[in-house]
Symmetry: D2
Subunit: 353 residues, 4 copies
């Protein structure tokens, strides 16, 4: 594949002759970092594939999955270039090729057993939920704790709903604006690719289309992660409420948050602009954001609206559940883990309309 | 099941020959109630048309609209039968034909001036918002105050978002379960037909598709109506919050409500079952409802989930914004106003999938 | 309009007290026809349920299905009234209760074995494909051959794609306008509920949303039925081409047909108006129809556009695949089989928007 | 903006220090080509913006539009980086800044007058339809006639429907496989962004959602362009038929083509693989393609299926109407016009799901 990859590099690099000159001078890192994806035929793995396919420094050399093992990548992803020739291998965590980094997007429960067998010389970003706040794993909320990522070798990528919610809450918690012991209500809305593949007829098109529903009321399945992070930010999650909703669209998460405190809209907005001053993917918006603003990107848009008289501080966060909610943040984390500019491979403009 | 089946039989027909016999004996009311619709080419008016087209007792004899005046109904609604021959007239409120009832679905502001000119011998159901809680107008929340409708001649139909929200809250307020001075948060999600026609490119398909957004944060435009009704139910709306969201689907409203109180799930559910014991369109559900359950119908599904330890009482209500949220409830109100069984013409099973 | 209105009045009801008087005089058929549905939790069976729930003369007394056996109907269809109390039985064709008519909506292959065991005293409408043009079964293209239905006891309901296509072609074939041995091309587009439940992840929301594809090219799976019907209409199907496409919507089929002949638009339109002169569900349209015009109904809209100089006769037909394409036509057939007015229970106005 | 752009370049180029070394050696073309877009707030212009925002060699320095003049780009496109600071100017074709290339995406009729005033030192790619096959303009079907593009200064980008259709037909015509004087039928299906902004309530979400319709039957509005190109390829368009359909999705065009000839599937496929042997964006597929395969990209997928016995040669082509159907091909053309590798800035993997 070396020759084919070189051909592709010509469109993101200087012309061919210059590449040759440069490589002889070792100006360009021709020995790129070797990356792998397990769970490549799921939505999270597929998005990681899309982002890595054009990443200047990660060379995708190994892909694995259960449902598609044996096929070539191109059979699942017809739009790939030379990368499509790569074969999808069976998932064999104990006998992976040499990889610098592995992106794992496995069904719940499967990461825990499998990733433990991966060589410690391979850094891991687990897009799935098995290792969030597990010992030895760094919680990969990159826009809040980038420094923790720089030294990490085992990163648990935040869940999509938590990513949206926590990015909106973090500045308020950090600035001590949320009243302790008072409610924090997160009402979240997600597109269907947040549910994952293999949902059976529950997620069949005709069932999901033209429908909205809430699920998991008070059931806390996403809440431990959110609560733990709130605690890390010195907040009080004792009255945290989280309600997810399924929305008939493919991508996107909107988290509408009702927190308690006396801060003004301006104070919250200023706190957020300061908190995220040098974070390239966070956009504090003066209007309520649309999920579409983030489609296909690793951006997060956050808006605040407060009513101090009634101690209500509202925040609305919009992300792409496969972007900031999964693969986008995973690649951002990997960039940090390898000392690259964290926007590498993530500078695409959102898809519109 | 026999009694229930007999009740359902009331909306069915005898064979053709019997109809003829009966009409000669004037057993059948050949002089049906004369109904009119203004704003028939909007979504609310169009749904009223669909419901009245097969209503046993309302004879649709007059339709009016601005954008479609001069056309025959069939040009706008190709699926109509004989009714399609009716011409759409210009809206002339001061010179309407004799009507027993007029359903008005006009843009905001246009009802106020126009309907004042309508003869008092014509009862009115205003589907639009101009007359909610206006003097001389009855607020048409039929499932809560059916008795008020029976004597009414001027009815202001509730808005779609308030309909969903209030039906969920009413039992809790009535039973005094909501803590005074404590927050009531309504996070509502609506399909696009709630926005009305003529939205320009803001509601163009490509803009709205695959997108979710919140709007009108803290702006209270729907809140006076909800607050006034909460007050009518002896509740405290001082900390009422309402946040609407636009969802990429045609029909449906889901209202997720976070109220404050120590009642259990069972207590709330029991209170609701009692409150709505004889109300035919309200379904108390033991699972969170889907908006699709109500599609094309006048039903409202309500579910409660509480966490007494944290004083959280959640309710989720699902309706069709054009059904219970507009024309369905309008027809239900008209049925009550004319002493008909309130389910007349509203017994259709929801559309699925 | 009086006569037309009287015709419509045939599907309405007398007031409650009159119903009681009439029943005591047995003017009303209190012993309604006993109907059953097998495959009630599929899309076709579910639509049959919706239509029968309010049918004046069919009393739904038995429902069966595999995936939902043991549940009450209300658990699958929360919007049902008293009918929701009916239990879903296991499919036991050899030991059904006494039924006047059974509507079968089973997966391909399952009808063939099962329905053979059903008592001959039970009339059958098979919505599935196993019996189309099978010996002893009447092909239920009701708008073309209503007389065949009146005497039938075993009816094979046309497939959805053939229903749309054949209704458009029938007048042309009948009038001899299609050139023998020349191409007839049917390019059809269907919503996802035409595919049926249980499609696995191939029909998962995220896979199907925002996508169009053609399938079954030249594979003739729908063609034997269409070809046989064309032959019945004295047409030549030797150069018949049929290409289905999957469209990201729930309901609807549009069939765009390119036939060969020298007739003018006017001649084709006139031929169709004559052919369908007394058929209540066929609408010949002077504009290309939208599938939405038929949503939730048993209507079929057909439009012709010809270019005689190039021997091109185009037809566009629009139906609801669950209406005229399945359950709607099944109920229409049953009406005919039992000597009822064929519009009974099928007079609802299409859902809009 | 120079410093901001340099910062962004770091993620598509070697590390910062290396960039500085290289620029001092003029290895990288730091004086990039100056590009402008007029009609930037339309769908085609917006997609051109997205592609140019990350193009290594085109520096977007001027954007103009009517409906958004005065705003900053970021107000329309919140996800932009530093480029968002650019102001949207009024369209003043006679007084544009110095540009190497201008991309025009104006409403029909507006290009003709405006572009005539643009300086001849500015190359133009007109994404709109006013100049297709106009004297002095090169028809920009890049995958078929790349050489014509290399010398062109005024390029008329093909329409979206013609792009899809012609790419499928070109190999057959070129190989003389289409029987002269015999029908070529193109049945095309397009997402709504092909209609353009400002479509009023005809393209309102609730009108278009859950609906399919055909339009422009036999009206030839797209046909002159297709016919002229067929003629250029020595084909016979005398019996060309083109029928567009509106599909409820944002992006995508599927063209299903029925041509006449005796070639086998293998012969057509081979002819196409040879015809497009060195064309990087054309994928000949052994399965019927999905429009989703091309989403967000400049790819075109083509599949052939023939029935020689009946002289039927079918082709199915799938593109993104904003990609290969508009801005993608426009950027590809511009790459060729300026002697760049034609894949520059167009190597992104399609968006999935």
């Amino acid at each position: 594949m070396r020759n084919a990859r070189r051909a592709e590099l010509q469109s993101i690099s200087p012309p061919a002759d210059l590449v040759n000159q440069l490589s002889s001078h070792t100006f360009l890192p021709m020995n790129k970092l070797r990356a792998g994806i397990v769970g490549v035929s799921g939505y999270g793995g597929g998005e990681a594939l899309r982002l890595l396919a054009n990443h200047p420094y990660f060379d995708l050399v190994h892909v694995a999955g259960e449902s598609s093992a044996g096929q070539k990548l191109r059979e699942r992803f017809p739009g790939l270039g030379a990368l499509g020739e790569l074969s999808i291998e069976k998932w064999a965590p104990g006998s992976l090729p040499e990889l610098d980094v592995l992106f794992a997007s496995l069904p719940t429960g499967e990461s825990k057993t499998g990733l433990a067998q991966v060589s410690t010389s391979t850094k891991i970003v687990d897009i799935g939920g098995d290792h969030r706040y597990a010992p030895g794993w760094t919680y990969g909320l990159a826009d809040v704790w980038p420094d923790r990522l720089r030294a990490a070798t085992r990163v648990a990528n935040p869940g999509c709903y938590p990513a949206a919610s926590l990015l909106a809450l973090a500045p308020l918690l950090h600035a001590g604006l949320c009243e302790p012991g008072a409610p924090i209500i997160i009402d979240a809305k997600s597109g269907v690719s947040g549910a994952g593949r293999g949902g059976g007829s529950t997620f069949g098109y005709a069932e999901v289309n033209e429908d909205v529903s809430a699920y998991g009321l008070l059931k806390h399945s996403h809440m431990p992660e959110i609560a733990a992070t709130i605690a890390q930010l010195s907040g009080d999650a004792s009255r945290l409420v989280f309600t997810p909703h399924l929305i008939p669209m493919t991508r996107g998460i909107l988290a509408t948050i009702y927190a308690t405190g006396s801060a003004t809209t301006e104070a919250c907005t200023t706190a957020a602009r300061q908190f995220y001053a040098d974070r390239p993917f966070i956009r504090i918006s003066d209007k309520p954001p649309h999920t579409k603003w983030a489609a296909g990107s690793n951006l997060a848009f956050i808006h605040y609206a407060c009513d101090p008289a009634r101690k209500l501080m509202m925040a609305v966060a919009a992300i792409d559940n496969l972007g900031k909610g999964a693969a986008g943040q995973a690649v951002q984390n990997a960039n940090l883990m390898f000392g690259l500019d964290e926007t590498t491979g993530l500078t695409g403009t959102p898809i519109w309309p």
